[in-house]
């Protein structure tokens, strides 16, 4: 038996189910629904949420299908098509060399196919962002619940570390730390493998990103700490693990979910930003940030080059932001939608 109000349909909200598909309202009555079900119903009704969710599913499927797409498309991300460039290294034809074989044209200079590099870049970007968001959420939840529930000196120490982390200039530290770490494991002249760069990026995001989730969770836990059900569980002799994960956590998953869904796009842009300034991924690994950086040199001669990665990253981030906002609205118990 659980004393926490979220499990089961204890918090049944009353809602009319009459607003069906336009025909005569059937079975007028009241149904009890759990908060999760309510949120799901609200989300289903929200047109923006559904459109952005469809876009996200499309992007994720695209990322998963990279080997398949590459097999069908027949071009690799590192293949160079020098014969399709003119004497100055500019792609032949219109709009950056768009043809039936090269859907988004070719990169000036090296002559690599832009479409397949973008699909690969999308996969890397989504992988880094999701991995970083999962790790930071886990760290933030753990430290936040500990600080909020235990209080005392543990709270003080965790708070101080949070403040310190927030005072660190993220971009500059990341900028300085990445090559330093690489230098620690690989020599000056050795090539750093892409998997290692990706690992370093994820670790840096984890190191700096947990603070916001921790703050959020801590505040929520402090608000819950003195509630009766927590006290009752404590009086029944529940251990720390049970208190944190069975009693407190189920009550605060909604804001955590929202912050997770808004963290993913912020890691997508941070990865692109770091690759843009040349410390994230190197040119070897396809990445949006690196592509945009390279395209700046060709702004005057091949302007279409900047638009493909630029617009894709915009669409990706916009879809995530819209979905995160819709999720927040759907999960908000005060929302009337």
């Amino acid at each position: 038996m659980s004393l926490s109000p979220v499990e089961g349909v204890a918090l049944a909200e009353i809602e009319s189910t009459g607003d069906g598909d336009g025909d005569a309202p059937k079975a007028k009555g009241f149904v009890g629904r759990s908060p999760g079900q309510l949120a799901w119903v609200r989300l289903r009704r929200d047109r923006t949420a559904m459109i952005s969710a469809a876009m996200l599913v499309f992007f994720v499927l695209l990322a998963f299908a990279v080997p398949l797409i590459q097999a069908l498309y027949g071009v690799g991300p590192r293949e160079q098509f020098q014969d399709r460039l003119d004497g100055f290294g500019m792609p032949l034809g219109y709009a950056g060399g768009i043809t039936g074989e090269h859907w988004f044209g070719l990169e000036p200079g090296l002559g690599r196919d832009i479409f397949i590099r973008m699909v690969h870049g999308l996969r890397t970007s989504l992988f880094i962002a999701f991995a970083a968001a999962v790790i930071t959420a886990a760290l933030g939840i753990l430290l936040g619940t500990l600080a909020g529930y235990l209080g005392g000196w543990i709270d003080a120490v965790i708070n101080w570390i949070t403040d310190l982390t927030l005072a660190m200039p993220f971009l500059i530290i990341a900028l300085a730390l990445t090559p330093t770490v690489a230098l620690r494991f690989y020599g000056q002249r050795e090539a750093v493998p892409p998997a290692f760069q990706i690992g370093v990026l994820i670790s840096i995001f984890a190191l700096f990103g947990w603070t916001s989730t921790a703050r959020l969770v801590r505040g929520q836990v402090i608000a819950l700490r003195e509630r009766e059900f927590v006290e009752a569980a404590r009086a029944s002799g529940a251990g720390l693990g049970h208190m944190l994960f069975r009693q407190l956590l189920p009550n605060i998953w909604a804001p955590i979910l929202v912050s997770f869904s808004l963290a993913v796009p912020s890691y997508i842009t941070s990865e692109a930003a770091l690759s843009f300034i040349g410390v994230g991924l190197t040119d070897e690994t396809p990445s949006f940030g690196r592509m945009i950086y390279r395209s700046l040199d060709y702004l005057q001669t091949d302007p279409s080059y900047v638009f493909f990665p630029g617009i894709t990253i915009f669409a990706l981030v916009l879809a995530f932001n819209l979905f995160g906002d819709a999720l927040r609205d759907a999960l908000d118990p005060k929302s009337s939608r």
Partner: protein, 328 residues
């Protein structure tokens, strides 16, 4: 008030101390050999050894750190190869630039300030103004335009917006010169025309966030009882919205603004890279690619100082704006 300020400054000092220890360890203790990056070409073992001696890398870490801190507060002697006597804010000698790090910073800091301060004024006015207008005209076409603007802006990236602005305004229409920095005191017109693109790009993206935030805050405040009371007792709309509601709605905006401005002053790395302007951020990027540790360390420290100071300023502003906050 004075007591609060002292307490706040002390804790800020403590934070800065921790940041300096952390970054010192990170940059001087972590790499295999800090010197390898400081002697780029024609390096022979003797020269490497000399650089090691000059940097005091043979000393224990604590005395290295103490020496570095002493240099910042009182200045220190770096030896003839590093420009000899180095005065008070001494941040070391950069082998890559062949000058004292403080000289480099003195040169590039005005550039970053010239980018950030006008941009911040622009984005605050635009963002808060737009947020207020759309909250007061909720549901009208104006509100919808403002929401669309802020959604777009919040999802766009400075490197993309910057590239498009450069392409259209500089390369195609030739309305503006290629971005560059001229001192404000040499020629205000050149200063503005060289940086206006950076201001616009930054302001567009940041004001989106502010419009969103201040709209939400304003809507929440407008539904408060005291706003209704103020209206009911016969105060005019401008007075209620401008004095009573705005004040409460703007406090969270001030927090975010403080952090953003503080962070941006520490180096607008992306903006400077996009527009090719040599400010603090670009200096940090170059220092990293040169392996120029003293310069990297200095840019991290100065960025942290800006963030921490911004936090103190935000706390003080809180007391000015929100009468419920009492400083203790």
């Amino acid at each position: 008030m004075a007591r609060f300020l002292v307490k706040r400054l002390l804790s800020a000092g403590l934070t800065l101390f921790a940041v300096s220890v952390f970054s010192f360890l990170m940059f001087f203790a972590l790499p295999r050999d800090p010197v390898s990056g400081m002697c780029p070409k024609n390096c022979n073992p003797e020269r490497l050894e000399r650089v090691r001696q000059e940097l005091g890398l043979r000393d224990p870490l604590i005395s290295q750190y103490a020496g570095y801190m002493k240099g910042i507060f009182t200045g220190r002697d770096l030896g003839s190869a590093q420009g000899g006597r180095c005065d008070a804010p001494c941040l070391g000698w950069s082998y890559a630039n062949n000058e004292a790090v403080s000289d480099t910073l003195a040169r590039v800091l005005p550039v970053t300030l010239s980018i950030v301060i006008p941009a911040a004024i622009l984005w605050l006015l635009l963002g808060v103004g737009l947020g207020m207008v759309s909250a007061l005209r909720r549901g009208t076409w104006l509100d919808r335009v403002a929401i669309g603007f802020s959604l777009t802006g919040a999802s766009l990236q400075i490197y993309f917006v910057g590239a498009v602005l450069l392409l259209v305004l500089v390369y195609n229409l030739r309305l503006l010169p290629v971005p560059s920095y001229t001192s404000l005191f040499d020629s205000p017109a050149k200063w503005a025309s060289g940086l206006v693109l950076a201001w616009v790009a930054l302001a567009f993206l940041y004001s989106a966030i502010y419009a969103r935030l201040s709209r939400a805050q304003m809507l929440e405040t407008l539904s408060e009882d005291y706003v209704r009371t103020a209206r009911a007792k016969g105060l005019t709309k401008p007075k209620v919205y401008g004095r009573h509601a705005l004040r409460a709605a703007i406090t969270p905006v001030v927090t975010i603004a403080g952090l953003d401005v503080g962070g941006a002053l520490g180096g607008t790395v992306i903006t400077e890279t996009t527009f090719g302007i040599q400010g603090l951020g670009r200096t940090a990027v170059n220092a990293v690619s040169d392996g120029d540790l003293p310069t990297i360390m200095a840019t991290v420290l100065i960025a942290a100082v800006f963030v921490v100071l911004a936090n103190v300023v935000v706390d003080l502003l809180y007391a000015v704006i929100d009468p419920r906050v009492r400083l203790r």
